[in-house]
């Protein structure tokens, strides 16, 4: 039934985004985007389109392309994000330059804003839609490795989620956020962390797997979650108890 549904996932060539695309491709035609195609692997039902989410013109072109080819967008997953470390350690505020701050905010938060601004009118027209914003556990408690640029951008995703949940009243659109804990990806592998960190710090005793975020996104994309709206759902192995 859902096979004709169209999903747009930003930053889906690697890490969590890649697994979100794979999971969603079981039920959706997935269009994913990134600034370059380097890491993209061809898979059934997953299409790559080049797009820089921090550029509103690039976002507009992408959404227009999808609408003219596929007619609508049922699901938007704002996943694209960067996290800059200082040689594998937390970058403290004194080391965050103006440019670094803008880079992180532009991609992680402004990119999601551009996407929502472009996609929402099409969802409203269809009287149907789902938006899932990928936030972070660091936005819930202040983070260990992430700098305040990253934490601020991910906290902004929660505000964007709540505000749009209120604004989309009456259009049968669900807007929610997911806050992953530390997940095994290239991004977290670059961090200086002791091998037994997860065992000592995460109640479930391990890092999360990217597919464990993907299955949560898939639940939020399904009809089973139709009354969940404006929520931020933690998936962190018990690391952060809110």
């Amino acid at each position: 039934m859902m096979m004709n549904r169209i999903a747009l996932v930003t930053g889906g060539t690697k890490g969590i985004g890649k697994h979100i695309c794979l999971e969603l491709s079981k039920s959706h035609h997935v269009i994913t985007c990134a600034r370059n195609e380097n890491n993209f692997e061809n898979k059934e039902n997953i299409e790559f389109v080049k797009c820089d989410v921090s550029n509103s013109n690039s976002v507009s072109l992408l959404v227009n392309y999808i609408i003219s080819n596929w007619g609508r967008i049922d699901l938007l997953v704002n996943n694209a994000g960067i996290s800059e470390l200082d040689n594998g350690n937390r970058k403290t505020i004194d080391k965050i330059t103006d440019e670094a701050w803008s880079r992180t905010i532009d991609i992680n938060l402004t990119g999601a804003f551009y996407m929502c601004r472009e996609v929402l009118p099409h969802m409203k027209k269809e009287n149907h839609g789902k938006i899932v914003n990928i936030s972070s556990a660091s936005a819930r408690f202040g983070g260990v490795l992430a700098g305040v640029d990253y934490i601020s951008s991910k906290s902004g995703m929660i505000g964007l989620t709540k505000g749009l949940a209120y604004e989309s009243k009456g259009f049968n659109i669900n807007v929610n956020a997911v806050a992953p804990g530390r997940i095994e990806t290239d991004m977290t592998n670059k961090a200086n962390v002791e091998v037994d960190w997860a065992e000592n710090n995460i109640p479930l005793g391990r890092l999360g797997m990217p597919q464990e975020i993907a299955t949560l996104v898939s639940f939020l994309a399904s009809d089973d979650s139709s009354y969940i709206h404006g929520a931020t759902i933690d998936c962190n192995g018990g690391w952060v108890i809110n």
Partner: protein
């Protein structure tokens, strides 16, 4: 086959959870205070239990153990509403009743099932709370407090039991369409709906679907979480 216990399974949200889990392939042991009008059917077996009484929980659990030693999922759903009224007029007996039916029951049940889950290498506990737990409930103090207590239970058990691969989560529904709402005037409900972005109150199946997700392997990294199902408010 996986086994589940659902408390307060006769009506409303509990009934919907029981049906959904049975449909998912669980063998559901449905604990209900009154089972006279209930008939067992595929994957659903009713067991009489007043969850607010320790002795009754012991009896019901003995009946469950005759069927199986293994328990994969406990859903603490049993609960009663409070007669709405000013807190200075809230009777001590009413307070005690709300706390024992809504909160102490979840402790009794958890205490019984945890050893089984530890023995069999893991499990899942889901507590059905309410947004009244986090947002407050004017003139419904005892109800709100009982549900807030369940949040403490959820968080503490999530941390205590993670080493045993037992996940513990809570669901916080907003106002939900059940028999308990029959006495609420239509105008009051309409006034509430106006303030909900999704323009409707919750249906029991909205909660059952979330229980189904949290109890599945798809939620294997989620523990200690409070899942709000509010339609945006």
């Amino acid at each position: 086959m996986k086994n589940a216990i659902v408390t307060g399974a006769a009506r409303g949200i509990g009934k919907s959870i029981t049906e959904k889990l049975a449909n998912d392939g669980f063998r559901v042991f449905a604990f209900c205070k009154n089972i006279d009008d209930l008939e067992n059917r595929k994957n659903i077996e009713y067991i009489q239990c007043d969850v607010s009484q320790v002795a009754s929980v012991e009896d019901a659990f003995d009946k469950f153990i005759k069927n199986s030693d293994k328990l994969d999922l406990l859903v603490n759903n049993a609960g009663i509403q409070q007669q709405v009224g000013e807190t200075e007029n809230l009777h001590f007996d009413e307070w005690d009743k709300l706390i024992s039916v809504n909160l102490s029951s979840a402790f009794y049940m958890s205490k019984k099932v945890i050893p089984k889950m530890k023995k069999h290498g893991g499990g899942n506990i889901i507590n059905i709370c309410s947004i009244a737990a986090t947002k407050g409930y004017p003139k419904g103090t005892a109800y709100s407090v009982s549900k807030s207590g369940m949040i403490g239970l959820t968080k503490s058990l999530a941390l205590e039991l993670a080493d045993y691969n037992i996940r513990v989560n809570a669901i916080l529904p907003g106002l939900t369409e059940t028999d308990a709402m029959n006495d609420v005037p239509k105008s009051v409900i309409e006034n509430i709906i106006c303030q909900i972005p999704l323009n409707r109150i919750a249906k029991p199946v909205d909660i059952a679907n979330a229980v189904s997700f949290l109890s599945s392997e798809n939620a294997s990294y989620i523990t200690g979480e409070l899942l709000n199902i509010t339609g945006g408010r």
